[in-house]
C-alpha cells in the first residue's frame, strides 16, 4: 500500500512526509516570531535585566539538553530497527525515547520550581516572562511528541509496523528532531548568552 502511494504522487514523496515538512516550516515561523521578539527586547529594552548565571542552573539544563539529544538518537535507532524488520527493536527504542522525554519534562519541572522560588517568575521581569513562555511552548511540543510516540508504541505492540510499513515512525522522527532542534536554540539563548 505504501509503495503504490509513493508512485501516485507527483513529487514521489509521500503526502504525509511532505505534509510534515510543510508543518515544520510553519513551526519555524512560530518559534521564530517568539525568539525574534525576545532578541529585540533583550537587545533593545533598557529595562531588560538578565539574572546572574548561578540562578539559572546551567549544569542541570546542560544535562537536560543531553537527555533530549539522546532521545533523538533513540528515535533514529527505532526507525533503523523497523526498517530492518525488527519490531522488538522498534518497541525497545520507542520506549527509550518516551522514557527520555519524560525525564526531560521532569527535570524541567524541577527547574521551574527552583527558579520560581528564587524569584524568577512570569511577572518578575521580561527575562522571566520570555523564559517561561518559550520553554513552556517547547514543553507543550514535547508533550505532543509523547502523545505521537505513545500512539506509535501502541500500534507497534499490535504489530502494525514492519519493514515495508513504517512511514509514521519516520514522520514522528522528523517532528521529534525538530522539537530537539528548538531546544538546542533555546538552551544557549536563555542559559549561556
Amino acid at each position: 500500500m505504501n509503495d503504490t502511494r509513493v508512485l501516485d504522487t507527483s513529487t514521489g514523496i509521500p503526502n504525509g512526509k511532505l505534509g510534515m515538512w510543510v508543518f515544520l516550516a510553519s513551526e519555524v515561523m512560530l518559534f521564530g516570531g517568539f525568539i525574534s521578539s525576545y532578541v529585540i527586547l533583550r537587545t533593545g529594552s533598557p529595562y531588560f535585566s538578565i539574572p546572574p548565571r548561578e540562578m539559572l542552573g546551567v549544569p542541570l539544563a546542560t544535562l537536560n539538553t543531553f537527555v533530549l539529544i539522546t532521545s533523538s538518537v533513540t528515535m533514529v535507532l527505532a526507525l533503523d530497527a523497523v526498517q530492518k524488520g525488527s519490531v522488538k527493536g522498534l518497541v525497545r527504542y520507542l520506549s527509550a525515547t518516551l522514557f527520555l522525554a519524560f525525564c526531560f519534562l521532569g527535570i524541567k519541572a524541577y527547574e521551574y520550581h527552583h527558579k520560581w522560588l528564587e524569584g524568577i517568575t512570569l511577572t518578575s521581569g521580561l527575562f522571566g516572562s520570555f523564559y517561561y513562555t518559550l520553554t513552556a511552548l517547547h514543553a507543550l511540543h514535547v508533550i505532543g511528541g509523547i502523545v505521537f510516540i505513545s500512539y506509535l508504541l501502541a500500534m507497534a505492540l499490535k504489530g502494525r509496523y514492519d519493514s515495508r510499513e513504517h512511514a509514521r515512525v519516520e514522520y514522528a522522527g522528523l517532528y521529534w528532531h525538530f522539537v530537539d532542534l528548538v531546544w538546542v536554540v533555546l538552551f544557549p539563548i536563555f542559559y549561556l548568552l
Binding site: 500500500m1 504522487t9 507527483s10 513529487t11 514523496i13 503526502n15 511532505l18 505534509g19 510543510v22 508543518f23 516550516a25 510553519s26 513551526e27 515561523m29 512560530l30 518559534f31 521564530g32 516570531g33 517568539f34 521578539s37 529585540i40 527586547l41 533593545g44 529594552s45 533598557p46 529595562y47 531588560f48 512570569l122 511577572t123 518578575s124 521581569g125 521580561l126 516572562s129 520570555f130 513562555t133 511552548l137
Partner: protein
C-alpha cells in the same frame, strides 16, 4: 485500497462532517457569505452614526440594549466594537474563507485533476475549527465584556487594557489554526496530486494563485500567533511584553513590571497582515485570469509573467510590513528601506494588471455576467493599487495615514477588487457546483447596482481623506474642518444602504438557482481547464469518471486551424 470502497453515507456524514473537498468548499462558501452579510450589516449601523451623528438609529435602534445604544443613540464604545468587528469579520471570517476556503477547496483539486485534497480529515477539521472560531468571535457581542473594541489591528496598549479582547484573541487562535491546516493541505495537494501531464507550466493561474496563497498563509500566520500569545499573557498573566515602563492608564501609574515595547506588537501584527493583503488578493486574481481567458476566447497574455509575479509578490510581501508604521516614529533609515521594498512590490502587481489588460486586445469578448465582474475588477483594482502609492512614501503617508484616504484605498482593493472578482467566481463556477446556472438578467442587475454603489461609497473617502477627515472618528462633526465634506457622509451612507438592497437579487438568485435554475451541461462556458472535464456537480469523493491526462497548457483558446475555439487540456487531439 480505500478509494474502491463505496458506502452509502448518512446525511451527517455527507453534508455535515464530510471529508469531500467539494462539500467542505460549499460549507466554507455558505458560512463565509453569511459572515460577509453580518460584517456588512455592522458597518451599516456605523454609516448611520457618521451621516447623522447623535441621532437615534431608526428601526434597529429600539432593538439594541441600553448598554450599547440608550434610546437608539449609538455609544462610542459600541461604535468602536462595530468598527473592530467589521474589520475582523470581513477579513478573517468573510473574504479569506470565501477566496481560499471555498473556491480553493472546491476548485483546486478539480483543476489539477485530483480526487480530493491530500489530507481529507485535516480539511474537515480546518472547516470546523474555522466555524467554532467564527461563532466565538461573533458571540463576543453577548459575552461579558462585550466585543473587542481596539480595532481589527488590536494595537497595544489599548488592546491589553480594553475589555472584550480576550475573546478576540482566543477566536483568532482558532482561525489561525484553521488556516494553518488549510495551507498545509493546499501546498501538499498542489505539489503531489497533479494529474499526469500537468506540469507547472501547464497549471491554471487559479491553481498557481491558491498554491502561492497557501505558502503565504503558512509563513505569515504563525508569527501573528506568537504575537497573540504574548498579548494574551499581557492581559491574563500581567506580563509586560508590550507594556512600556511608567505607563499611565486613566491618570494612574500602571503597577506592572513594564519594560516592554508597544511597537513590537505592530511589527508582529503587520508581518502577518501585509502578506494577508495578498492572501485577499491572489485568489481573486486567479479567478479573474480564468474568467478573462474564457470570456475573451484567447490565451492570457503573459501566462508565465503572471505566474512569476504571483511568486515574486509572495516573497516581497514579507519585506514591506513596516510601511504601515511610518507614523509610529520608525527610524528614517528603516523608512527608506521599506519605501523601496513597497515601491518594488507594486511592480509585479502592475505587471499582472497589464497582462490582464493586454489580454483584452483584439478579443471578441463575450459579455457574460462573470466576465462583467472580471472586467470591472481591472480598473477598480487599478484605482485601489495606484492610490496606495502615496501611502508608500513617507512624506505623503504622514499626512494621509490617519485619514479616510487609507480606508478608501483599502476598500478599493478589497471590495471593488477582491469581492467583485469573488462574485464573478460564484457566477462562473455555479453551474459546476450545482449543475444549474444562475439567472443572467438578475446577475446583471446585481452587477450594475453593486459596482455603481460601491464607487459612491468609496470614492468620497479619498476626498474626505485629502480634506483631513480622520478615520476611527465617532462623531465627524466635532472637528470644524470636517463640516465642509459632511454632506459626502450622507451620500455614502445612502449608497451603503442601497448596496444592501442590491444584494437581494443576488441572494434570491443564488438560492432560487440552486433548486430551480436552468439545467447546465458539463462545460457550459466552453472552457479548457480540467474542472470542466468532470460531471456537474462532480462525482462525490472521486470527481472524475477516469483520471484525466493533460496534454497542453491551460488557455488554448482560438487555436488556428481548429474548428472549435477551445481546446480542453485533457483532449488528446
Amino acid at each position: 485500497m480505500t478509494a474502491a470502497v463505496h458506502r452509502e453515507e448518512s446525511f451527517i456524514g455527507k453534508w455535515i462532517f464530510s471529508r469531500d473537498h467539494k462539500v467542505i468548499g460549499l460549507q466554507y462558501m455558505f458560512t463565509s457569505l453569511v459572515f460577509l452579510l453580518i460584517g456588512f450589516s455592522l458597518i451599516l449601523l456605523i454609516r448611520w452614526q457618521l451621516a447623522y451623528p447623535g441621532r437615534p438609529i431608526p428601526f434597529i435602534g429600539d432593538l439594541l440594549p441600553d448598554s450599547l445604544a440608550p434610546g437608539g443613540i449609538m455609544m462610542p464604545d459600541f461604535y468602536n466594537s462595530l468598527g473592530a468587528m467589521h474589520g475582523t469579520i470581513m477579513i478573517f471570517l468573510g473574504i479569506v474563507p470565501l477566496g481560499v476556503g471555498a473556491f480553493g477547496n472546491y476548485f483546486l483539486p478539480l483543476q489539477i485533476g485530483a480526487k480530493d485534497m491530500a489530507f481529507p480529515t485535516l480539511n474537515m477539521s480546518s472547516y470546523w475549527v474555522y466555524f467554532v472560531g467564527g461563532v466565538l468571535m461573533l458571540s463576543s457581542f453577548v459575552l461579558p465584556g462585550g466585543a473587542a473594541r481596539a480595532g481589527w489591528t488590536s494595537y497595544v496598549p489599548l488592546s491589553v487594557i480594553s475589555s472584550g479582547q480576550t475573546t478576540w484573541l482566543l477566536a483568532m487562535t482558532f482561525l489561525i489554526t484553521s488556516s494553518l491546516l488549510g495551507a498545509i493541505n493546499f501546498i501538499v495537494t498542489t505539489l503531489n496530486l497533479r494529474a499526469p501531464g500537468l506540469t507547472w507550466s501547464r497549471l491554471p493561474l487559479f491553481a498557481w494563485a491558491q498554491f502561492v496563497t497557501g505558502l503565504i498563509l503558512l509563513f505569515a500566520f504563525p508569527v501573528l500567533q506568537a504575537g497573540a500569545v504574548l498579548q494574551l499573557l499581557d492581559r491574563v498573566a500581567q506580563t509586560s511584553f508590550y507594556m512600556p515602563q511608567g505607563l499611565i492608564i486613566s491618570g494612574e501609574l500602571s503597577q506592572r513590571g513594564g519594560g516592554g515595547n508597544a511597537l513590537l506588537w505592530q511589527h508582529l501584527f503587520w508581518f502577518l497582515a501585509h502578506p494577508e493583503v495578498y492572501v485577499l488578493l491572489l485568489p481573486p486574481m486567479g479567478i479573474v485570469a480564468e474568467i478573462l481567458a474564457n470570456g475573451t476566447r484567447k490565451p492570457i497574455f503573459g501566462y508565465k509573467e503572471v505566474a512569476g509575479s504571483f511568486c515574486f509578490i509572495a516573497v516581497l510581501s514579507f519585506m514591506v510590513w513596516a510601511h504601515h508604521m511610518f507614523v509610529s516614529g520608525l527610524k528614517t533609515s528603516l523608512s527608506y528601506l521599506f519605501m523601496t521594498t513597497t515601491m518594488t512590490i507594486s511592480i509585479p502587481s502592475i505587471a499582472i494588471l497589464t497582462c490582464f489588460l493586454l489580454s483584452l486586445k483584439d478579443a471578441s469578448i463575450r459579455f457574460t455576467v462573470p466576465m462583467l465582474f472580471s472586467l470591472a475588477f481591472l480598473p477598480m483594482f487599478g484605482i485601489g493599487g495606484l492610490t496606495g502609492l502615496p501611502l508608500g512614501f513617507t512624506p505623503t503617508d504622514v499626512y494621509l495615514h490617519d485619514t479616510y484616504y487609507v480606508i478608501g484605498h483599502f476598500h478599493y482593493v478589497v471590495v471593488t477588487g477582491t469581492l467583485i472578482a469573488l462574485f464573478g467566481g460564484i457566477y462562473y463556477w455555479f453551474p459546476k457546483m450545482f449543475g444549474r446556472s444562475m439567472n443572467m438578467f438578475w446577475g446583471k442587475v446585481h452587477f450594475w447596482g453593486t459596482i455603481v454603489l460601491m464607487n459612491l461609497i468609496f470614492f468620497p473617502m479619498f476626498i474626505q481623506g485629502l480634506a483631513g477627515v480622520q478615520r476611527r472618528l465617532y462623531d465627524p462633526t466635532v472637528q470644524l474642518h470636517n463640516l465642509t465634506v459632511q454632506p459626502t457622509n450622507v451620500l455614502m451612507s445612502y449608497a451603503s444602504w442601497g448596496l444592501l438592497l442590491f444584494q437581494v437579487p443576488f441572494i434570491v438568485n443564488f438560492f432560487w438557482s440552486i433548486f430551480k435554475g436552468a439545467r447546465s451541461e458539463e462545460n457550459p462556458w466552453q472552457a479548457t481547464t480540467l474542472e470542466w472535464a468532470c460531471p456537474s456537480p462532480p462525482l462525490p469523493h472521486v470527481n472524475f469518471e477516469k483520471v484525466p491526462t493533460v496534454h497542453r497548457g491551460p488557455y488554448e483558446y482560438s487555436v488556428p486551424g481548429r474548428e472549435a475555439d477551445f481546446w480542453p487540456q485533457n483532449e488528446e487531439n
